[in-house]
Symmetry: C2
Subunit: 361 residues, 2 copies
């Protein structure tokens, strides 16, 4: 499909635990040209490559994708057309403007368009949360740019431990599909990506066309357990057990919050069986796990708050669904997010005037 | 009134910012014999006394009350009858049994009873929260022990900075009254205490007989702003401003929570004007202040969670008043309290069995 090679070309943006395993999976399947944008670890990876300890692929030393770029701008200047732009950075629409997804992909979407306006560019968002495609649709006309926007919902326990060092503990299970399930071309592109990504006997990758269901279902855990863990700065199991009689976290925060997610989803025509709550509650009872918002908060990094909690609450408000539990969790979390923004210098709080003095856009 | 002296005798238990200023106020007024139970600073204070920097009384060096005891047991063994037992320790009914208020006062209540069963013992609780007298009434029959239990509601910005070192920044305003406003003897005792405590032109001390009102009103702030600050580990002003548009903390957590307090109070026949919310919200807008629960949490000390949030919610449940905001705040806070209990060794969490393995009573 590419001018230089008969193989499709993939560019993975975001070189954390998810991005490196995604790039390696594509590379190992050997059905595409794999490029990566590696920001902070660039010099290390150019020299030594990645050291990966993976439950799916074993121990891999000094691995590099076909091409490495330090920035998306550098990738866009390479003269290469990227059939798939795989975005694995966190989705923080309330963060600095240059770290929003549409700004991150813009150079490559533009260079693709300039290279061949008739060829399809697929942007695959392997990210949590709801309504994350809307930001892209607002900034790029899919017809003009020949864009196909794909959803990636993933379960994987993969973490970057240090420069170029990745440990993956849970099997990679990835669902790829167009956000819009009437998008016939999108389904084709998703299926193509699945063939590029699949490593039989190792990872599990499928096309689950009901993306709305997949995303709302995952919010049962992410919108409820995640903020609780961040607020308490504890793993989910302790959050569960450090409560009155060991039951009040489950009965007075998590189940009420999950029922609100089910009700909001229902108002959008998405039916989630309440038994799914037990699936996610069982995870917190059977595995010591610190949810990502808690990890990010403890590292002083911005959290995926808006896409995980803010957007579902916008839907609740629009459809008139009461969500008192999620509302308190969300508004407490905005305070934590503000605290991180202050520590990163994104906002400055002036104790003299007792107000926010400056917001860096 | 005492056998050894014509003056009434007061024993202050708890030698933090509140307790030391209480003892000094009584001492300075010079109308009572003042004893203190000083636990951790005992050796320091016996040698050097207190160093106090007070907005009410100026700078005082090397001050000691008339008598110092290391424990309540030692005070009870002194052969002295204490007309007033002034309790200024934090009220943590869910903490270790020996730090509950009834266990703390027990030796002195018992020795008073043995010395003179006909003479009145007043226990004054200068403490936050609701229904704090009930624990004492459950453990001591007021008739048998000739007990009069008094409420002290205080505004004071007093802190212990180090061994024997106290800084008081806000004027001491203390309301003393019997918990039961039909208790005629209690009113007399409260008025007597006020004469002992009052230092005209310095502190402000009055008898506000409507204790239920005073305590519910103070919960507007304590039950709502306090837990928010602890969960965010921030001063109240940042909690207010680090929110969507600078308004969502006020509009989506604090006002809803305060309205629930007003509704629960109303179900108990206590009317609080909603305008009182503005009084407390204005405090958060006009003064940089870190509420006590936040300070305690950051120090790894147990918080007054049950008397400030747990007890109002019990009333809400009993009277069928919905309190979704307070409920989420409370149940999140029980997780934080559990975290402190783990760090203090009061509970032990076993990561193998993923449950609490031991609770120290």
């Amino acid at each position: 499909m590419s001018a230089e090679s008969s193989k499709p070309s993939c560019l993975v943006i975001g070189a954390g635990g998810v991005g490196v395993i995604a790039a390696y999976s594509l590379f190992r399947a050997d059905r595409s040209e794999v490029s990566m944008v590696v920001r902070s670890d660039y010099d290390h990876v150019v020299k030594q490559g990645y050291s990966i300890d993976s439950c799916d692929y074993g121990t891999i030393e000094n691995w590099k994708p076909h091409r490495l770029y330090k920035t998306a701008e550098a990738a866009s200047a390479s003269g290469q057309f990227f059939d798939f732009i795989v975005v694995t950075v966190k989705n923080i629409p309330d963060g600095p403007k240059d770290s929003t997804v549409h700004e991150i992909v813009r150079p490559v979407v533009d260079s693709n368009h300039a290279l061949d306006p008739t060829r399809t560019t697929s942007v695959l968002l392997i990210q949590n949360g709801l309504d994350i495609e809307k930001e892209l649709l607002e900034h790029f006309d899919p017809n003009e740019y020949n864009l196909s926007i794909l959803s990636g919902v993933q379960l994987i326990g993969s973490t970057k431990l240090g420069a170029g060092k990745i440990v993956q503990k849970g099997q990679d299970r990835l669902s790829v599909a167009p956000f819009d399930n009437t998008d016939v071309k999108g389904v084709e592109r998703a299926k193509l990506f699945i063939t590029l990504y699949s490593n039989k006997g190792h990872n599990l990758v499928d096309c689950e066309p009901n993306v709305k269901y997949t995303r709302w279902r995952k919010l049962l855990y992410n919108a409820v357990v995640n903020p609780t863990a961040a607020l308490a700065q504890l793993d989910a199991t302790r959050c569960l057990k450090f409560s009155n009689g060991g039951m009040s976290t489950e009965n007075c925060i998590w189940r009420p919050g999950m029922m609100e997610i089910i009700a909001i989803a229902a108002s959008e025509g998405v039916t989630i069986d309440p038994k799914e709550m037990d699936f996610f509650l069982d995870i917190t009872k059977s595995m010591m796990h610190k949810p990502s918002m808690c990890v990010d908060y403890e590292k002083g990094q911005l959290m995926e708050l808006e896409v995980i909690l803010g957007n579902p609450l916008k839907v609740a408000e629009r459809n008139g669904v009461p969500a008192p539990t999620l509302s308190v969790l969300y508004h407490l979390m905005t305070i934590l997010q503000g605290k991180i923004k202050e520590s990163k210098g994104i906002v400055r709080f002036d104790e003299e005037i007792m107000d926010i003095a400056k917001v860096v856009e």
